[in-house]
């Protein structure tokens, strides 16, 4: 499966990812440093104290020198120090938050693909029946609901109504419990994150399934007397998957960005929450760091998707 060519391909892609990350963070760095005003300007800092703080962050140097030392730090994996919480270095924060975001994102992706493909397959097999219409309409409805709306109704249902109706018997602790890696705290946010995209997968699966089940080899399989679910799963779905996986790349990016909103609603300490908080706090160094983390996450996710092609479709080779 992974030949030598594939490994070389992975190596090339990793180099490109590093370059892209450097490029993106440079753009954000320069953009932020072009902003008028001063990151540390406040009424609590005066005179010498202000000069000292500027000097501590190296902000009194000319821009090009700051940029050189920023890139130098980046190459060593050092994203600098928080402007708001002095002495807190950013790299460990970003790495930890990346893993949290990735965890929620992967569960969301499983929801997206699972729900989307089963909807699509059922709608295609039962084409032009009421089931097809219901599922197709549900898809558009799902696609039209922003993820924070889905999240709102999930919180209402599981956090408020269910609790009220059963007088507290069913009470779901919603939000991050502080432990790392509990699925229970993830699945509601992951569902809210993944559901809007499930409809895209459902539509694509339905369309490509409809094309596949009219093929001759499906008739052959049926003529051989194979059971219906074997035909559906092994012969139709596997071939119908190929157009579907081409959308995985944009899908992953959508889920990663959707995480910004979902993490803020559910209080998940991932990259998205940090992003919004740092922008509102004007902690410029963290903004740059988080954006760098996102660039890396997107690059790695895209690489993962491209490698998945090889696994699913053996005809594709790098």
């Amino acid at each position: 499966m992974f030949t030598r060519g594939t490994l070389i391909y992975i190596g090339q892609r990793l180099v490109l990812i590093v370059l892209a990350v450097l490029g993106v963070s440079s753009l954000v760095f320069l953009g932020i440093h072009r902003l008028p005003g001063d990151a540390l300007f406040s009424e609590h800092l005066h005179g010498t104290q202000y000069e000292l703080t500027l000097h501590h962050y190296g902000l009194d140097r000319p821009l090009w020198l700051q940029y050189v030392s920023f890139i130098g730090g980046m190459l060593h994996g050092d994203l600098g120090e928080s402007l708001v919480n002095r002495g807190v270095s950013i790299t460990p924060i970003v790495v930890r938050e990346m893993s949290v975001s990735a965890e929620v994102g992967i569960v969301a992706l499983l929801f997206t693909i699972g729900i989307g493909m089963s909807f699509g397959v059922v709608a295609a097999i039962r084409q032009n029946t009421w089931l097809d219409y219901v599922l197709s309409t549900t898809s558009v409805v799902g696609y039209s609901m922003p993820n924070f709306v889905v999240a709102t109704f999930l919180i209402l249902a599981f956090g408020v109504w269910l609790d009220n109706i059963t007088q507290g018997t069913f009470y779901f602790q919603i939000g991050w419990p502080g432990r790392y890696g509990t699925i229970g705290a993830i699945w509601l946010p992951a569902f809210a994150l993944g559901f809007p995209y499930a409809s895209i997968v459902a539509r694509l699966t339905r369309a490509s399934m409809l094309e596949v089940i009219r093929q001759d080899y499906i008739r052959t399989a049926r003529a051989k007397g194979l059971r219906e679910w074997v035909i559906t799963i092994r012969h139709s779905l596997r071939n119908a998957l190929i157009p579907v996986i081409t959308i995985l790349g944009p899908l992953v990016i959508g889920i990663i960005t959707g995480g910004v909103v979902i993490e803020n609603i559910f209080g998940i300490p991932g990259l998205g929450k940090e992003f919004a908080t740092s922008i509102l706090n004007r902690d410029y160094n963290i903004v740059i760091g988080v954006f760098t983390g996102y660039a890396a996450l997107v690059g790695l996710a895209n690489l993962g998707v491209d490698l998945l092609y090889v696994v699913i479709d053996p005809r594709i080779r790098y």
Binding site: A20, V24, V28, G31, I32, R34, L35, T137, V140, V141, Y143, S144, M145, P146, F148, V149, T152, F153, I155, L156, G159, V160, R203, R206, A207, P250, I253, I256, T257, G258, V260, V261, N264, I265, F275, A276, I279, L280, V287, F291, Y294, A295, V298, N302
Partner: protein, 296 residues
């Protein structure tokens, strides 16, 4: 025999001349979901226009009701944390959503159509550069770019429209480029070229009208995407700054108090979902109507 012949003569051979657009309109009218979308959107535009001159309560006025009051009585959709009437704010929020949705598409059309036309028609290095930039933009998470742009430019309505358009123009450019690539090889374009028409005349007089169907469909789907983006930005606190009511910021305010005043978050959520749904159904209907060969 004679009867059939007579019938043939009396019945016109071809149905009366139907242009592409009237044909499409006829097909669109038969699509019930798309029609429902049109009706809802008309209603929404009327509401947004009415909100310009009259809302049940002043939009910015604090304390017109008891804070967190539920729906019913004097306030149909309840009262928010500062005692402002939710229905009035919802009506005013429709303006922002529609302005952002349509405004963004105008900017996207203004950027995407010329670039796509030029790239598809002239090919060469310009096309390569454009394709490279489009692919570059597809690789970056759009919401993050929009967030950082709004952050850098400062949150106000114009900058939000610019930021969203910057992250959405590639869809249009890619579509127009693809259409142009296939249209430029057709005979009527060659005839135009042979008769000495200038490139601008060919592009805007011959290619663009023929690519109009897909462009309209793309723009229709682009409006809800932009509205959704604006809602995301507002939800994260980087939208049109308060006290201007937007659906996203209303939902963000409401979700904090979801236990005591669920109406505060439900009302804007439903309004937003219905609007996006109407646009998506309309887009689906338009696609079926304008491009009957490409049925889903």
């Amino acid at each position: 025999m004679a009867a059939t012949a007579a019938a043939v003569v009396t019945r016109p051979i071809a149905p009366e001349q139907a242009s592409l657009w009237s044909d499409a309109w006829r097909r669109l009218r038969r699509n019930r979901l798309a029609l429902a979308g049109v009706v809802y959107l008309t209603f929404l535009v009327v509401v947004a226009l009415v909100a310009l001159i009259h809302t049940p309560y002043p939009t910015y006025e604090v304390g017109v009701g008891i804070p967190y009051q539920g729906p019913g009585g004097q306030h149909w959709l309840g009262v928010d944390a500062l005692g402002r009437d939710t229905l009035s704010r919802l009506m005013a929020g429709a303006q922002i959503s529609l302005i952002v949705g349509v405004g963004t598409q105008i900017v996207v059309l203004a950027i995407g159509v010329p670039i796509g036309l030029a790239a598809g028609y002239f090919r060469g290095w310009f096309d390569q550069v454009v394709t490279f930039i489009i692919n570059l933009f597809y690789g970056i998470p759009d919401l993050l770019v929009a967030l950082i742009l709004v952050f850098l430019l400062g949150p106000n309505l114009t900058n939000i429209i610019i930021a969203i358009a910057v992250t959405r123009w590639m869809d249009m450019a890619r579509l127009v480029r693809g259409q142009t690539l296939s249209l430029r090889e057709r005979e009527f374009i060659e005839a135009a070229r042979a008769s000495g028409a200038k490139p601008s005349k060919i592009l805007f007089g011959h290619i663009l009208p023929n690519a109009l169907g897909p462009i309209i469909i793309q723009a229709t789907f682009g409006v809800p995407a932009a509205i959704l983006f604006e809602a995301f930005l507002s939800f994260l606190g980087l939208g049109v700054p308060p006290p201007t009511p937007t659906w996203g910021s209303m939902a963000a305010e409401g979700i904090v108090t979801i236990r005591i005043a669920p109406a505060m978050v439900i009302a804007p959520s439903i309004a937003l979902s219905l609007t996006l749904m109407a646009f998506n159904f309309l887009g689906d209907g338009l696609r079926d109507a304008l491009d009957p060969r490409q049925r889903r």
